[in-house]
Amino acid sequence: MLDALVRGLKRRDRRSLARLISIAARGESIAELVAQLGAPPKSARVIALTGAGGVGKSTLTGKLIEMLRAKEQSVAVLACDPQSPITGGALLGDRFRMPMRPDDAGVYIRSLAAPSGRQAVAQHLDTITLVCEHFGFDYILVETVGAGQGDTAVRDVADAVVLLLQPETGDDLQWEKAGVLEVVDMIVVHKADLPGAERTIHQLQMMLEMAGQTSLPVFPVSSRSGAGLDDLVAALERVRPRERVRSAAQRRLWEAVQAELLQRWKRLETDGAIAALCTQPQWQAAVSEAVEKLCSSTKRKN
């Protein structure tokens, strides 16, 4: 079943895309899926939007969809909303703030539930973005649940993290708190048409100066008037898809584990069967699974 869906995905079949995201989100056969997918034909720009609830992440995402489509760039949106730690239920209500483009094959919006806890994004988001990359999207916009502080897990899957702030949300000391400012690549002061926006921008710039973070770009943006959107999109266009932290670390571990196992096996090897085994997808899936397990247990210890 999995290989039929992967073939469908590579044919750009949307049903296969939707089904594979469900499978990845449930954490089913991740290793097998990753092994079957292989490397994507081209990298997407993965942009995460984070910030407190109500700051306008979905609204801005909606505007970005329209701007990027006008440039003929295809966009996948992965909108994460919190899941109840008690019932496991979730109300995923981001997509209704985004434009409805039912006939536009270049836009895909998917709502995902994020478990409560430190992460502000859905589990297995790295695999989900990989699935989207194989479909061929130019941009993947990840909307976090909007915890605001300390939600640094997005960094591992995104090429750039955009923090949204709005006027009149706490004084500059709020931003001094450790966490999200340390991992963002750009800041949007959203709702910049509201009174107090200039003061917020000024305070923010002073703070960044003191912190020696003057290279961190700040964009005043109003989704209502459209002001500042062009500059933001231009900045997103300059984002280079980079080696994603987690997958790079995993790859190193993968290679190390494989080499180590090979060495041990080689002592037993008699007829080259072991070397042949290493090219088998089942073997590779087993190694991936071991790596996945090791990675998550190290993460937990930290």
Partner: protein, 138 residues
């Protein structure tokens, strides 16, 4: 850490056309969420085409449509047609709202799983979805 063995049921809830009364659908959304389902709230004033795209992209198991406009006999037949055309015949459809008694069987004949009128206890809706999903997944 621990993955629940059974995947949460994914339900899209939407309102189509010029019907701005969304209290009912929000009450249902909350009840289904509290029952452990993943509810994708697609909101007001949707077109049927947009709803079908949402159901497809969200890989939903259920679609709940709230209709208080009296246009159900125009909208529902077209919806069922669009779902079939999009290869989404496996998605179960429920309708809530103001539906005259005489039209209920017409809707179920079209393939609607169930019509829920005003005053339906939330436990009925939750129970119905669970029961039907259990049968479909088995």
């Amino acid at each position: 850490m621990s993955e629940s063995s059974s995947a949460p049921i994914r339900v899209v809830l939407a309102k189509v056309g010029l019907d701005g009364h969304d209290r009912g659908i929000k009450v249902v959304a909350r009840a289904l969420r509290d029952a452990g389902m993943h509810v994708i709230y697609a909101g007001l004033w949707q077109t049927l085409e947009a709803v079908v795209t949402t159901v497809a992209d969200e890989d939903a198991d259920w679609l709940g449509l709230s209709l208080l406009s009296g246009a159900h006999m125009t909208l529902v037949p077209r919806l069922m047609e669009l779902l079939r055309a999009a290869d989404l015949a496996h998605v179960q459809v429920m309708v809530g709202g103001i539906i005259p008694e005489a039209d209920v069987s017409k809707l179920t004949d079209l393939g609607v799983a169930r019509v829920f009128g005003p005053g339906t206890p939330m436990t009925d809706i939750v129970g119905f979805i669970r029961e039907r999903s259990g049968a479909a997944h088995a």
